[in-house]
Symmetry: C2
């Protein structure tokens, strides 16, 4: 028995040492792949056949990078090298000749370093030995300052800044970062109408990918018109996206379009002797699984949730993008909402950081992100959220300097009152809304500015930059004080919209007021005032974009108005479903009819019918119905406050960095399973609740709490 | 007669309108081609077969550029488009479909714009109509901020910064900037020693280019060892550059090496069944003609001048580089001297600005240029010189912001005394000299800093930035005051070398003292003191690099010590010639013997035997013997002060932006021809000089002056 055990032990050691080979992965200068990929994606936009690149500065990756790591090896090992770019490789500062594909690193303590130049792609390496493997523990710099004097003595490099390498999931040496492609899958149309010289296809729902023409032959033109609506696909002169081909081939061949398109309907027209067997598509997607879920007794709400998750998936690609048809650019304000939805559906942090880094770009800051003042501020606020949900300190440590320089840009653009006001070249966006004033000092911008400064203070503390933490906290407090002294109107019971040329306007809009609620900037009296005089006041201009509906409904949820929100959700998102939507739109105005719905930007089909900001029910249902939200970074502590919002039962999951929180709630029973750290279930009950798995504590006013431990399930009987 | 005249007039109009077609040229964002080309060139360095890239940050071109120009056409015209990158083209903001190669621009006032994305090369365009042609009057930006609101209304772009396009001489649409190559010309060896398995070639003098193996066939290895000396070419294990090939071919083929090398001697070794007919080279060069010249009665000086001009030509390539064998990097301190020599030989401003822009790179500044403190300061001083010689205000207007940000970097690195002191990551270079202290506050660096601040004040005035002109002038004055209060020693009659930890050292070196002379920072008493106690004092450590010999001899010339300099030139540069030099060296120490001369950086052949800084006689002979120098930008006014320096006669030309100044001077006669603006010939004579072509004015102490007008020649009889 003893012998058998030791053999088993040996066997296990062998296996374990086999597995001890660390996973090598492609690495690069952090943020650089993201910038490079962002450039590639954003420069794929076309309007019909015209190239339409972004109107802001695009940065480049650093083209010359030094990678190194110190190793202590018990025995010499062979190491394979894969490199994107022109490179050298050194052990302890001594270079190997040429461009070796394999080196031997001797036993003992050794520094392995590679230096790589690459202009068209991101300098990247994949190093695979047994212990000598490339991963995000390697250090990288874009200026090693390693000079030698006339005697051959090397410099001390004390002025060199090293960061940890960036990586993602490129674990195959044959698939370097530059070869990254999204996944594809063949799909067929659900309905095909073939006529002489044309095929009209309906793929059954909004989709995205490459159209494929099968068995194509003959001589002539093939014009493909794409539509999110049948009207658009038929409007050959004004549809937003097209493909025009000419062929002259006798042999039948399949032909796949080069650029992806967004569509439900495809109108293929051809002339001459062109014939084809059939038309299908390659659906293109980022393979990322749902972790969150939501179901309830109301089938319309369930359908809204499903269409929202599909909408989010379609817009979760190389990056979180705004809409799949037109822009395919990365917009910070749009992405800020995708991040929040992501925390309740995918919990895919790489998609968040990829997007944040592509948006931030490089030094120097020469304009607001996307040129939009509010979009810069959302970038900061998104970091606040990201840290709260994921607890990822490493991201903040690596990119704190980029946060600082972006904040310096904002601080440099304050006016004499210390407030932000659009200067030449600044786009003050707020929302797409007719007649919305962007002039002067807009209260909404100051509110986002205050929260951004609070984010900077938080991050300064994380990197132990105490003097700046104090500075940012003070600046945040100043802006908050000015926000209320400047804009709060007792007679309007609200923050007014703006101050222009020193005169505070009378105009009340929803924007600053609703954000002030969920930023928790209002005392209870002001909250109730805002609810009554702004949020529930039909005379305050209505919001027509799902973008701002997101925040409006969040504010109402934060005030406990879930029942009202349920109705609004059914009206607004349900309204789109009633019009046949299979994904949610950039803008929805119920007073419009027919193809009017598709117009925007002065173009008949300018509107995107699949816009990420339309997917907010994912967030609202997860955070304010299932009621799960972190109260400390990475869900070390969190709340579960289920709210039925007029529904009979709700059931779902919310992902955390360590497992999913499950919640079921009806008017009589709550069932929860904990994840991550320590949860607190909080609920109201008219009777004393009963729970066998834990102790329910009365708090006040018929409110009760139950501590929820990781991995444990609890069933509570109560009475709503 | 009248009729004939009007026909002639018509004919001339026709010809002139035919010629009125403007020259189109490739254009780009200013400075970007220079950065891109600099990256390419500097990343071609290898040490034997190992890739050896720079150790400082390399920047990238902007990858997304908007180009535009407004035209007013009397009739519509066809315009051909050539573009490097993915692009769109618009007339008055309306885009053409796809990627057109020809467009028609209608008659009337129209804005033509192109937007181009390119990551691996510099976005560039070549537009060729009759009037619609691309040239450096087009405006460019890397962020057009041209957004539209939800109604389709375009933004006002008031925050967009437009610069004038960059260009060089790419006038052929088929040869875009990315295809730029230097010229080549076939050359043969002057001596070939063919043995079994080897060929040893001597090309007669230092040269540069691609080795070509003719009629190569067989199977085996070919190892090529390059040498600036025969010793190096024979030292197969330690020569600095090599090429290793393997072939297996039965057909005879010519094979040209991929990378250029510097050499005089080439040692080709081969094994197996390898055979070849012969070995030759393709000499690679920038085609730029000599405009300056110098001849005198001393044949050794003439030979020095010729070898100096050859040395400068070899190092004047894509950029002014330091040396052709080893680095092939761009070094600001080395280039600063090449610029000065250039003004007396080539007067090729594009080579100056190309080099300055590649050195400066992009924002943000993260280290000194080449990491070297003095090299940053030389960059500023070079602008001072460039403006003085060329009067090119446009360059300063375009790049003043980059000058400001680099100066901000310096100002941010001042210590508590307001002086520059090496911080972590700063290389304080000064010179290659044994035991030279770089510690603490070095006087030499403060001196360069003061001159740099003066340059900034000059440039601030040129761009009408009056507040900063005042600021920079004040800062310059402060540093100058501190320079003398801190370092001037009455007992040493000199500026001492440094202050370390608050204690001024006793050490006197030549550096700050010699620069103080030709910067004109010393009063006459101090000048004479420095001459006696430093420059002509053998106890002050000698300078052994041609780099600092340049400035040492310039200081002596500025003090009128040309006769001494003539002797030094013959000793030092003549010393190299006596050792067989065919180009001038990185360092020359007459106390060394044999192959000792070739060692540096701890390597037996580490020294470069063709270093640009060795070519300074071009500058000294032009500026201080022919005595021609501008006293106002672009030679609007200038001096001609010929000095024989012990020679019997001198004869030569000095180029200006508008023609060459000719000077002949013997002990009895001076002959000059003016160029550019207004010259003043100044000379001493023991008798009253006679000139038929102009009026000689006595000035003082036997000094006379004559006004020299553009294009006019003057002969003066005088007595030295």
């Amino acid at each position: 028995m003893k012998k058998a055990l030791s053999i088993l032990f040996l066997l296990l050691s062998f296996i374990s040492s086999g597995f001890a080979q660390n996973q090598a992965t492609w690495i690069w200068y952090p943020g650089d792949f993201e910038i490079w990929l962002g450039n590639n994606m954003q420069n794929r936009r076309t309007e019909r056949t015209t190239f339409l690149p972004p109107f802001w500065k695009l940065d480049s990756h650093y083209n010359l990078i030094d990678f190194h790591k110190d190793f202590d090896l018990t025995q010499a090992e062979d190491v394979a090298l894969f490199v994107e770019g022109k490179y050298n490789v050194k052990v302890d500062g001594k270079a190997f000749p040429g461009y070796p594909k394999r080196i031997t690193v001797p036993a003992g303590k050794h520094k392995v370093s590679l230096k790589v130049f690459c202009q068209d792609r991101v300098p990247a390496i994949y190093v695979r030995g047994k212990n000598v493997v490339s991963d995000d523990t390697w250090l990288v710099t874009f200026e090693d300052k390693e000079w030698i004097d006339e005697t051959g003595k090397a410099s001390d490099q004390s002025g060199t800044t090293w960061l940890k390498a960036g990586s993602w999931n490129f674990n195959d040496p044959q698939l370097p970062p530059s070869k990254f492609r999204l996944n594809t899958k063949a799909l067929s149309a659900v309905k095909t109408d073939k006529q002489k010289g044309s095929v009209f296809l309906d793929f059954g729902k909004e989709t995205f990918g490459f159209i494929k023409l099968h068995g194509l032959s003959g001589k002539g033109n093939i014009n493909i018109y794409y539509g999110e609506s049948p009207e658009e696909a038929r409007a050959t002169a004004t549809c937003e996206t097209t493909d025009f081909l000419q062929i002259d081939q006798t042999q039948k061949r399949d032909s796949t379009m080069k650029l992806t398109k967004a569509f439900r309907y495809v109108n293929v027209q051809f002339d001459g002797s062109v014939v084809m067997d059939s038309v299908s598509m390659l659906y293109e997607f980022l393979p990322v699984a749902d972790r969150g879920s939501f179901r309830c007794n109301d089938e319309q709400i369930n359908r809204i949730y499903d269409v929202a998750t599909y909408t989010l998936h379609l817009n979760t690609r190389e990056f979180f993008i705004d809409g799949i048809k037109r822009d395919r650019w990365i917009w910070s304000g749009d992405a800020a909402q995708s991040y929040l939805m992501n925390y309740y559906l995918l919990f895919d942090s790489p998609s968040v950081t990829r997007t944040m880094l592509a948006l931030r770009g490089k030094e120097p800051v020469t304009s607001h992100i996307n040129t939009i003042m509010d979009y810069t501020l959302y970038w900061f606020i998104s970091i606040y959220d990201y840290y709260q949900y994921t607890g990822d300190k490493a991201f903040i440590q690596q990119f704190y300097p980029r946060m600082q320089s972006l904040m310096d840009y904002c601080l440099d653009r304050r006016n004499k009152n210390g407030l932000l006001e659009g200067l030449a070249g600044d786009w003050v966006f707020i929302d797409w809304a007719d007649g919305l004033s962007k002039k002067g000092e807009v209260s909404f911008e100051q509110l986002l500015f205050a929260r951004s400064l609070e984010t900077m203070a938080l991050c300064a503390n994380i990197v132990n930059d105490t003097p700046n933490a104090t500075k940012y906290n003070q600046l945040a407090a100043d802006v908050k004080t000015k926000l209320f002294s400047t804009y709060w109107s007792d007679s309007k019971h609200a923050l007014v919209h703006s101050r222009v040329d020193g005169v505070t306007t009378d105009n009340v809009t929803r924007y600053a007021n609703m954000f002030a609620i969920f930023f928790n900037y209002l005392d209870d009296a002001k909250k109730q005032a805002v609810k009554q005089y702004v949020l529930l006041n039909p005379n305050v201009p209505k919001i027509t974009t799902p973008y701002m509906r997101f925040y409006e409904l969040e504010a109402l949820c934060a005030l406990g108005e879930q029942s009202y929100v349920t109705k609004e959700m059914k009206d607004y998102w349900g309204g789109m479903l009633n019009l046949g939507a299979t994904s949610f739109w950039e803008e929805y105005n119920p007073t419009k009819t027919g193809a009017e719905h598709y117009a925007m930007y002065g173009r008949p089909f300018g509107k995107s019918l699949c816009h990420a900001w339309g997917a907010s029910p994912i967030y609202l249902l997860g955070k304010y119905y299932l009621g799960v939200k972190p109260t400390a970074p990475a869900y070390a502590t969190y709340l579960i406050e289920p709210q039925l919002g007029g529904l009979q039962w709700i059931d779902g999951k919310v992902p955390t960095p360590d497992g999913d929180v499950s919640v079921y709630c009806s008017t009589k029973e709550i069932k929860v399973t904990g994840a991550a750290g320590t949860g607190t279930l909080r609920f109201k009950s008219k009777t004393k609740p009963v729970c066998k798995q834990g102790e329910v504590r009365p708090v006040s006013n018929g409110t009760y709490e139950l501590t929820v431990e990781k991995g444990k399930s609890y069933v509570v009987s109560y009475k709503l």
